[in-house]
Every structure is written in C-alpha cells, then in structure tokens.
Subunit: 139 residues, 2 copies
C-alpha cells in the first residue's frame, strides 16, 4: 500500500444535520448523488454516509460511543485554534477541551461534531503546513 | 476552517502490534517520540496513539465496537484491490468483504486491522488519483 488515505468516512445517524454542521464549519458540500455528502479536503475526501447504509455495505455493526478513530485539523497560528473551536460551537458542535498548552509543546483543544465525533485542533510548529495545507512530519 | 484533514489518529490498545501491522502493509513508521507511531500519508499523517493516553488527553471514553469513522484507500487499478486485501490478511488483519463490484460501479472490498478498524479498498475511476496519489471528486 502506498502512503495515502483517500477517503475518511463518518457513518452518520442524521445526514442532513451533520452535513449542515460541516457546511457551517466552512466546508463545501459536493452533491454527487443522494444519500451521501462529500467534501474535498485537499488531496483527500471527507464523506458522510448514513450509518445503516455503511453497516449494510460492510456487514459490520458500528458502536455508538465516540469513535476511537478521530481527526485533527492543524492551524497556521495559535490564535486560529480558539477560533476554530468557537466556530465549531456556534455551528452546533461542542468544545470538548478549550484551547490550551499541549504536553507536546503546541497549542490545542478538541471539539466534537453533533454526533460526538472528535476533532483535535492544533497548532504544532514542529509539523509544518505547506502553502496547500499539506502537513509534514519533522525530518 | 480550510478544507483539510491534517492527522487521522487511531487510539490503539496495543501500539506495538498495530504499528507492526501498518509497517507490514508497507508504510514507514517515523519515530519522533516514544508512545506514538506516526506515518506520513501524502499530505496527511496517520497516528497510532494508545487509547488510555488519548482518552485522558481528550477527557472522553471511546467505544470498543468498530468505530463509525473509517478510512478508504483508493487504488489505481481493479487488480490492486484484491492485492491490498490479501496483504492486509497476511499482515495480521482480516478481510471483511472480499473484492467485488460496488453498487456505485467500481470494484472494492473491506479489511479490518487487528483492532477492528475498518478500511475500504476501492478502485473508483470517477474519483481520479493524481501522480502523487491525491484524490479528487468529479468536477
């Protein structure tokens, strides 16, 4: 396998509510077909797909607790961390951990979307972002 | 929020076992500090972080069922789908759904890593991959 993750899917209980949340966060929904919401995220895709459809397709029952797979949005400045957390709250999410100093030296916090999926929001100068927003591990 | 996902974290029960699985899949582990495994995945990062550490950091208890957030690896050819599924099995994962025709027209299947995190493996000619492996939604 080559080093890429193409699509990150969140199996959702309420597609309209979840799509509205991510649109309120500033993302642009692409309507390719009904019953799924796609967002182009740089060189990857975020997909919202109804839980029942996803479970039927994979033949797996997902849990209802917050998933142990979670996402991070890295910012270009420390100030942006609080701004993104505030935007998540005003968009219908919840601030799980307010912005503060991280044990690894950066500035960070967490929010959850309306279905309790966790996002870390972090400024980490050791993991640089290029002009396109691509992140790199330190050399 | 700009359209990017910087880091995808899997909160793991057994870091060594899970890191060994992803290394067997062909990914390269970067050792930046103990207690976490990082993999550069194109313009994003895959992180394996012990569940207890992640739960303490976020103040959230994750579920134990297969997470409803899951990942997809898109291939350049149909033949690669079966190859990646077979590699997952020989690396210590499980084929959840063998390669076959998808309802959306492509060729795909699913595997689970050793801790039951789901990956879709898909060839979807409607979502092109560029030379660097970046995926795009249809225009």
């Amino acid at each position: 396998m080559d080093p890429r993750i193409s699509i990150i899917t969140i199996a959702v209980d309420d597609l309209d509510r979840m799509a509205a949340f991510y649109e309120a966060m500033g993302l642009v929904r692409h309507r390719i077909r009904d019953g799924v919401a796609f967002f182009q995220m740089g060189g990857a895709i975020l997909s919202l797909f109804p839980r029942a459809s996803a479970e039927k397709d994979a033949g797996i029952a997902f849990g209802t607790a917050p998933p142990r797979v979670y996402l991070a949005y890295n910012t270009r400045t420390e100030a942006e961390v609080g701004e993104v957390l505030a935007l998540a709250e005003s968009s219908g999410g919840r601030i799980v951990k307010p912005a503060g100093r991280a044990f690894w030296g950066g500035w960070y916090g967490y929010f959850a979307d309306p279905e309790h999926n966790l996002w870390e929001v972090a400024h980490n100068p050791d993991f640089p972002l290029d002009a396109e927003g691509r992140i790199s591990l330190p050399a």
